[in-house]
């Protein structure tokens, strides 16, 4: 019983739910503001993502007559639910270690592609040629970035498991890092950390990897036909997805808190997410253009996957 209550709390309020939504909108706002400052502009107010969502709720919903209406309406809801559940599984170092029996990085491997799946469903249900293009691009790039993700998951698991084999439990990964210092400072794990750092813009579609929703070519791809509250749901989904991938990298590589105080640890956690966002998304986006689909695919296969595999091999040899 208490387990169910705990899980509900996790999904609706603390690591998922309200907390993840607020953190996601805040991070998105910071991203836009800092990007503007990097370009010497004033930039939008910090609450701009929230304003966008509120604005979209006042708009009319249009559905193309040729679209599959059920799938069209269901896709954003599925996506948002999926990321909220994923956010609930994420542990927050020193504050929350996940609901017992829920947190496991293999579960995360299944949950992480949900937003991409929702976008694909949206693109194919909208019956627009641009939506279909966005769908195929999303799928191709997903195949490319899943590989380094899985390899770095395995590297972490093998490193933490040591001689005893591999460990997939998030609790064990956190406990290992509390005892032995963050994996980020472990020379063996540095290539995998770099691969995860590249995975973040890859899955968020920013900077070099703005391929599925590329505005100049496919006009937002899967989201082209969406308007009003459904588009707002997609915006929220993308905000929470940002939180999820940042928290994932933090949990795998750098979950350590700052002493015993819960509030201090929470602030530290938010700070870590923010720092990671600035490095991997904002500065990256400000400094780079965009790749073609084949170049983006080759980038992950040629450079990112070997980095993660290198860590995996080293962790395996040195255990």
């Amino acid at each position: 019983m208490s387990n169910i209550l705990e899980a509900t709390f996790a999904i609706l309020i603390f690591p998922g739910g309200a907390f993840a939504l607020a953190l996601g909108l805040f991070l998105k706002g910071m991203d836009r503001k800092v990007l503007a400052r990097l370009q010497r502009r004033v930039g939008p107010p910090l609450i701009q993502p929230l304003l966008d969502v509120l604005k979209l709720t006042t708009k009319e919903t249009l559905i193309p007559t040729t679209a599959n209406e059920l799938a069209f309406r269901l896709a954003p809801v599925l996506g948002l639910t999926g990321v909220l559940v994923t956010a609930a599984v994420m542990p927050v170092g020193g504050v929350w270690s996940g609901v017992s029996g829920l947190g496991d990085i293999l579960v995360l491997l299944y949950l992480l592609p949900i937003p991409a799946m929702a976008l694909m469903l949206a693109g194919s249900a909208s019956s627009s040629p641009y939506g279909a293009l966005g769908f195929s691009r999303e799928m191709a790039i997903m195949f490319a970035y899943e590989m380094p993700l899985i390899a770095s998951f395995l590297a972490v698991a093998v490193r933490v498991g040591g001689a005893g084999g591999s460990l997939f439990s998030l609790d064990a990964i956190m406990a290992y890092q509390f005892a032995n210092g963050p994996l980020l400072l472990d020379p063996v794990m540095m290539p995998a950390a770099l691969a995860l750092l590249i995975f973040i813009p890859g899955t968020m579609g920013s900077g070099l990897f703005d391929i599925p929703e590329a505005e100049p070519e496919v006009i937002e791809g899967p989201l082209l036909e969406y308007s009003g509250p459904l588009l707002a749901t997609f915006n929220l989904m993308s905000a929470v997805k940002l939180v999820v991938v940042l928290e994932l990298a933090v949990a795998l590589l750098w979950p350590n808190g700052l002493g015993g105080n819960v509030l201090v640890n929470l602030a530290w956690h938010v700070f870590k997410c923010l720092a990671l966002l600035m490095v991997s998304v904002t500065c990256f986006r400000a400094a780079t253009g965009r790749l073609r689909l084949d170049q983006g695919f080759a980038f992950f296969v040629k450079y990112t996957s070997p980095l993660a595999l290198m860590s995996l091999g080293l962790a395996y040899i040195l255990r």
Binding site: L51, L54, T58, K59, E60, L62, E220
Partner: protein, 151 residues
């Protein structure tokens, strides 16, 4: 709650450019206003979007040539309510230098009611941004009164 959202909504205008057969002069100025950091339309929350379904404010340029009339009206109908229209340049109002040409019939405002007009041939980017800000007031009124600009 509804009132609060109505008050906040015009702080996030998404802009769509609709070229109704313009000579491209106005479009270049709009692109300048949108792309150059110096003018920074993101300051008032603007985002230029490629899809008419995401748009709130439509910037229309050009005299509405006979050839594109149906397409422009169709795209215009795809923009969800409530929407605000801004005519950029003299073309949408009078036909400008294309007036009485064989390829243009009546100018844009005979078909689409324009809420704000930014005169000039082409207007300066600052004037376009001012037009957008004026359109926000129209939008505020439209949200509270729940009126449409074209049914």
């Amino acid at each position: 709650m509804r009132n609060l959202i109505n008050k906040l909504a015009p702080r996030s205008p998404w802009i769509y450019r609709l070229n109704a057969g313009s000579c491209n002069g106005c479009d270049v100025e709009m692109a300048t206003a949108a792309l150059i950091p110096r003018y920074d339309v993101e300051r008032i929350g603007c985002k230029y979007c490629g899809s008419p379904r995401h748009a709130d404010i439509v910037l229309i340029s050009g005299p509405l040539t006979v050839r594109v009339r149906d397409k422009v009206l169709r795209v215009f109908d795809e923009i969800p309510h409530p929407k605000v229209t801004v005519g950029v340049g003299v073309c949408p109002v009078s036909g400008g230098c294309f007036r009485d040409g064989y390829s243009t019939g009546a100018p844009t405002d005979h078909y689409i009611p324009l809420d704000v007009i930014v005169p000039g041939c082409p207007p300066r980017p600052q004037a376009i941004i001012e037009g957008i800000v004026k359109a926000l007031d129209v939008w505020r009124v439209r949200l509270t009164e729940a009126t449409c600009c074209r049914s």
